[in-house]
């Protein structure tokens, strides 16, 4: 993350990041925050134990283009229920990702992915996800096409 080439296109693009519900696992989003920043995004990190309201409020306030929800402790389904209604109620047009250990126990990830896609998430990531995959996905979903992908050297 030091002295990294980042695409200029990501600069000024705001993403909201946080751990939802009663979940206190902070290490993953700490790593994600650094990686997203290093890749040029403006990251608003809500930290752990963030409520659905906090996600929606932050996205509204910061005119965010994406909301990244992390959940590690196994209660993601319960904690995310209703989130997408709130997002549309707030009139937000954001890309939504969820990632981490999304089910309690030894789940079958395909099934878990289907569950969360059905809830409205644009992408669902498991705990093996490297930050680079999230960045690549954001670049695609926010149409940061290669035409715009001029790069700039950033020292973090």
């Amino acid at each position: 993350m030091t002295d990294t080439i980042v695409p200029r296109s990501t600069m000024g693009r705001t993403v909201i990041l946080g751990v939802i519900g009663s979940d206190a696992h902070v290490v993953g989003i700490t790593i994600l925050e650094h990686a997203l920043s290093a890749a040029g995004f403006d990251v608003v990190n809500l930290g752990v134990k963030s409520s659905q309201d906090e996600f929606v409020a932050a996205a509204t306030e910061h005119e965010a283009e994406a909301v990244l929800v992390s959940s590690m402790y196994g209660h993601a389904r319960q904690d995310c229920e209703g989130l997408h209604e709130r997002i549309s109620d707030a009139g937000l047009d954001v890309v939504t990702y969820v990632g981490g250990n999304l089910a309690v126990g030894q789940d079958d990830f395909d099934q878990t992915r289907a569950t969360f896609e059905a809830m409205g998430f644009d992408r669902v990531f498991d705990a093996e996800t490297d930050p680079s995959e999230a960045i690549a996905a954001l670049e695609r979903d926010l149409q940061l096409t290669s035409g715009e992908s001029e790069t700039v050297r950033v020292n973090t």
């Binding site: 993350m1 990686a35 134990k49 789940d107």
Partner: protein, 489 residues
């Protein structure tokens, strides 16, 4: 501001009375009846005496499922097929937040759907009778393991429910587990828990208390963890706790881990009054695991080998399924047996590794530095000192989610894989000690031909799950082909 003084019986009664309103199951708690109940339990279920009387490290897994019948089956299985010496109930996250209503919903949903909708056992909801049913259904003593900042009601119900050991403490169950809990408040809450444990103890029912040593589980420098253990130990002892098990989470460097456990044991005995019986518990690696059961067994194996050399009183085992989610009972038992086999093969051997004394010296110096500062800041009062030290960042924990800690300190491994401090923040370590850390990390940076940046920390956080101890840049290529994408250095 709160002080480190023993709660009076009146205060204890008053708080107890208040808490009874929080959830209906509290009504069933009757202290005198509970003491009689504990006295009726066989010696094999007396946690403190089983632990303190053991001549080899005892093994204990983590395990919690929502339903009582499932929890009983799980613990019986871990006892029989895992050979666990001590058993746990791991409490669910809603209970940890005192959201007994949500826990109730989760429990009922679980009963209806048959799939677990909680990540642990909601002991308050199960109530005194549920707890006793559990305690009676197994042979080994059972501990409550949770992560609850305000564990007062949980303690009332579970102590009355027959459990004789209770994990946690005001710092260790605040800093790593919460966001907005005030440290002063959690100290106050834990004074109640510890006083309640003390009250049982005075009636002849020793309640073992176990501060949670691993903290955030992620590259915590040993001296920080040990300082927290001693502070919590002291706070508990003030309230009358007489059986204390101080914890430490494996960092993966054998010399540092053995040295830290020695230091923890020695300091525990020095720092705490002679009335307190101090034991130690070693947690197998608490950070991110490899996403592969075979490799996870390698991590567990190193924990077992380290335990055999350091000989703590207790070892908390991990399962090969740690990475993915709450393990199956089979995987949990497998973690116990892998640990047992390796530990038993090594424990009879004399293994004296060079450099342990020196590392231990360094840890002792660091802990003294931290504790002296707490003493100063509190004008001799541990409670005040602790609050002030965390406020100023003179005490700090890496990756702490809680607002009660600065979370400015950042760790990284040195060239030998020992955890050093990369970013000190305001940490109360003297210049000489800081120089040692800086020098060690500089020499690693040199080995790797890169600067000391957060990247190094991030690489170290991922290293074990990627198959290494140290997050060297050279490892990245083989660890994950996708990795390269985001870094052009």
């Amino acid at each position: 501001m709160i002080r480190d003084r023993r709660l009076s019986t009146d205060e204890l009664r008053r708080i107890d009375a208040e808490l009874r309103a929080d959830w209906p199951t509290a009504e069933a708690v009757d202290f005198d009846e509970a003491v009689a109940y504990h006295e009726s339990l066989p010696p094999g279920k007396q946690f403190a005496s089983v632990l303190e009387g053991a001549d080899q490290p005892l093994l204990q897994p983590r395990a919690g499922v929502p339903r009582l019948d499932d929890q009983i089956e799980l613990l019986q299985y871990l006892e029989r097929d895992g050979g666990a010496d001590l058993l746990p109930v791991t409490i669910d996250s809603y209970t940890r937040d005192n959201e007994y209503e949500k826990a109730q919903t989760g429990l009922e949903e679980t009963r209806e759907t048959g799939t677990d909708e909680l990540n642990g056992f909601p002991a308050v909801n199960h109530g005194v009778d549920g707890c006793r049913e559990l305690v009676e259904a197994v042979d080994a003593p059972v501990e409550v393991r949770h992560g609850t900042p305000d564990a007062r009601l949980l303690a009332m119900v579970t102590f009355a429910g027959g459990f004789q050991s209770f994990e946690g403490g005001p710092i260790s169950y605040n800093i790593p587990y919460t966001k907005e809990h005030d440290l002063e408040e959690t100290i106050e809450h834990w004074q109640f828990v510890d006083r309640l444990a003390g009250a049982y103890t005075e009636c002849g029912v020793t309640i073992n208390r176990e501060p949670f040593g691993p903290l955030t589980g992620t590259l915590v420098p040993p001296s920080i963890a040990i300082a927290v253990m001693l502070l919590e130990g002291k706070l508990a002892a003030t309230q009358g706790v007489r059986s204390l098990t101080l914890g430490y989470g494996q960092v993966g460097n054998v010399v540092q881990d053995v040295a830290a456990l020695c230091a923890l044991r020695d300091l525990g005995e020095d720092y705490l009054s002679d009335e307190v019986t101090v034991t130690t518990v070693f947690h197998e690696w608490m950070g991110g695991f490899p996403p592969d059961e075979a490799r996870a067994n390698g991590v567990i194996g190193l924990g077992a080998a380290t335990a055999a050399i350091a000989r703590p009183d207790k070892v908390i085992t991990k399962s090969p399924q740690e990475f993915q989610g709450v393990p199956t009972k089979e995987a949990n038992a497998a973690g116990l047996r892998t640990t047992r086999q390796l530990m038993d093969m090594v424990i009879e051997q004399d293994i004296d590794i060079d450099g342990i004394a020196r590392e231990r010296q360094l840890i002792l110096r660091e802990v003294r530095c931290l504790l002296d500062r707490v003493e100063e800041l509190g004008d001799g009062d541990v409670a005040r000192g602790t609050i002030r030290a965390f406020e100023s960042g003179e005490l700090d924990v890496p990756f702490a989610p809680s607002d009660s800690a600065r979370g400015d300190v950042l760790p990284a491994r040195d060239d030998d894989g020992r955890v050093r401090i990369f970013e000190f923040g305001n940490l109360a370590l003297d210049e000489e000690i800081r120089e040692i850390h800086v020098a060690r990390l500089d020499s690693r940076a040199e080995t790797e031909g890169r600067d000391r940046t957060f990247r190094m920390v991030a690489d170290d956080v991922d290293a074990i799950s990627d198959g290494h101890l140290i997050g060297r840049p050279s490892h990245e290529a083989d660890a994950d082909p996708n990795r390269g994408e985001s870094d052009a250095d």
